[in-house]
Amino acid sequence: MEGLDFAGTFDDIVDSGLGWLGDNAGALFELVRTVLEGFYGAVLWTLSLPPFYVIAIAFALLGWRVVGLRFGALAGVALVVCAAMGLWPETMSTLALVISATILALIFAIPAGVLTGFAPKVDRSLEPVLDLVQTLPPYIYLLPGIALLGYGPATALAATFVVAVPPAFRLTSLGIRMTPNEFIELGQSTGMTNWQMFSKIRLPFAVPSIMAGINQSLMMAFGMVVIAGIVGSGGLGETIYKAVRTLDIAKSIDGAIAIVILTIVLDRLTQGAARIGYGGGK
């Protein structure tokens, strides 16, 4: 009976593994947690500094420059709506979570994507790992996350980071690999060094794909907001999670509206930035 209890044995292994990690690498996870919370805290602090209308106006101006006048105006109004619902601090804390997780993900994913772009073999061996990450239900790594990083924004940030990495990583790698052959030949025939080939040919042609990756990563991060609420992220995710548990339908809808507003505004902004970034003058 004992020998046949695979599930139990496996559970034991996982438990003791986690325990071992907590005991022996505790200092490391403490450090990770401090860094994550510090970074998140800094972003949140910056966003909370100005009053809500300054942020709303800033988004309106940005939207106007990047997308257009109508979108800019709508974005400004939509953010004021978030404040009017009494959810401004939560909205900013969610924004801080999503932005800091995405920035951390990009810092990792873009250089890694560039490297694998040059090494198709590495890329092929990483594909299954990325597939796993993208198909794994996030709930599965929330608990180990709490065990190692504790209940709070650090775990929320780590979980969001995990889902935000694959899109930017994949699309960066793809962009680097997909340089049109004629431009590779142009580079070769002008006598380029490998570094020049990368910086003057491959990277510029990869920009649209990388931009699309950034946008996708950001969207994945937004998708994690509510789940992150479960592990104590604070912000709109936690508002909704609590509202669901207390069957406060109105509150949960308010929270959802705020999330949708943030998501749409940032989606359009990054798409617009991608267009400008690639189009050069045209």
């Binding site: 004629e182 431009f183 030949e185 142009l186 580079g187 070769q188 025939s189 002008t190 006598g191 380029m192 060094t193 020049q196 003057k200 040919i201 510029p204 690639y278 189009g279 050069g280 003058g281 045209k282």
Partner: protein
């Protein structure tokens, strides 16, 4: 047409083969042992023969045209000349050095300084202005901004695009884009320019103009060029010598006149059939020897004939014959009469080979 004084060979292509496909080594072996044709190689080894056994020399100061139909291997051949493609067999010498054995740094140097290339697809960078595109080769060489912009502006002026410096390639017509591609190659001041069908996307009028400009420019700058085209008229207009390709093989190399007067095989003959000879065939190839002429017309004093030089073309010879009251024109080289052009000889030269065959039949 300027004659090539220096016979220094800049590019020497020695029995070069290029076979595409996974089985290329086996296919090469079979070709050298059994002499398979392109078709057989494709069937047996699933390999495409891009270029087979190409030999050619490009000399300093000459424009060397490679002519052939689509798929005949022109682009493959020109890419072998600056090692964008490695030959499966044979070697390519550029300025006496085997580019197949150059070290990476030397190869870069060779490409940056000595061999420029203009692509069939133009390949202008879409996110850079016309000026930045034209200065691209210099940028790669690390020339400072002000200097490279000055050089690129001059190159753009040569192709008539001075007013378009700040525009993006997307705002230009196809012909203008091709001129930017040409300016980019000229700006780096290479000794040899490789051009892969640079004018094929243009309408006939612009195309002729660019052909003449290109020829003039190349000669003025003292450059050498390898120029690919699928249009024999263009090859004749631009080229000092022409190589004709078919199925990866170079069938014939020669001046336009040589190719038209002595096509190597029926395929070439078919190509040249429709070409007007008026400006291509020269006095030296239509004249009869003095002895032969005197045998046929004993009474004529050849010293009293109108005179011309051996490079006079048929059009000029016809005009001279019409002006003359005698039925012949003397061809003079270095003050001695080297031959006589008769109306009979003129007529024979303007008709193509076909009618001559009919007369014999």
């Amino acid at each position: 047409m300027t004659t090539v004084n220096s016979s220094e060979v800049l590019i020497d292509c020695q029995s070069v083969w290029k076979v595409f496909g996974d089985n290329a080594p086996a296919a090469i072996k079979a070709i050298s042992e059994r002499g398979l044709t392109k078709k057989e190689v494709l069937q047996e080894y699933n390999c495409v023969v891009g270029v087979s056994d190409a030999n050619l020399q490009v000399r300093r100061g000459e424009i060397f045209c490679i002519m052939g139909l689509s798929g005949s291997g022109k682009s493959t051949l020109i890419r072998l000349l600056n090692r964008l493609i490695m030959p499966s067999l044979g070697k390519v010498l550029v300025k006496g050095r085997d580019i197949g054995s150059l070290k990476a740094a030397d190869l870069r140097q060779m490409r940056a300084r000595h061999i420029g290339m203009v692509f069939q697809s133009v390949a202008l960078l879409p996110h850079r202005t016309v000026l930045e595109n034209a200065a691209f080769g210099l940028e790669v060489q690390g020339i400072p901004l002000a200097e490279r912009n000055r050089t690129a502006e001059m190159a753009l002026a040569k192709v008539g695009l001075s007013d378009w410096l700040k525009r993006y390639p997307g705002e230009l017509s196809g012909g203008m884009q091709q001129r930017v591609g040409l300016a980019r190659a000229i700006a780096s001041d290479p000794e040899i320019i490789l051009m892969d069908e640079p004018f094929s996307a243009l309408d006939p009028l612009i195309r002729r103009q660019l052909q003449d400009e290109f020829r003039q420019l190349t000669k003025d700058l003292g450059k050498s060029a390898v120029f690919i085209t699928h249009d024999l008229d263009e090859a004749i207009r631009i080229g000092d010598r022409i190589a004709i390709m078919k199925d990866g093989l170079i069938i014939q190399v020669g001046t336009a006149e040589e190719i038209i007067l002595k096509p190597a095989d029926p395929y070439v003959a078919q190509f040249v059939a429709g070409i007007s000879r008026l400006h291509l065939v020269k006095a030296h190839s239509v004249m009869t020897s003095v002895a032969e002429f005197q045998q046929a017309c004993p009474g004529v004093d050849i010293r009293a004939l109108l005179r011309t030089n051996p490079e006079a073309d048929i059009d000029e010879l016809i005009t001279l014959t019409m002006m003359s009251d005698r039925d012949a024109v003397a061809v003079v080289d270095d003050d001695t009469i080297v031959g006589i052009v008769t109306p009979r000889g003129l007529l024979r030269s303007v008709s193509d080979g076909h009618t001559a065959e009919l007369a014999h039949a």
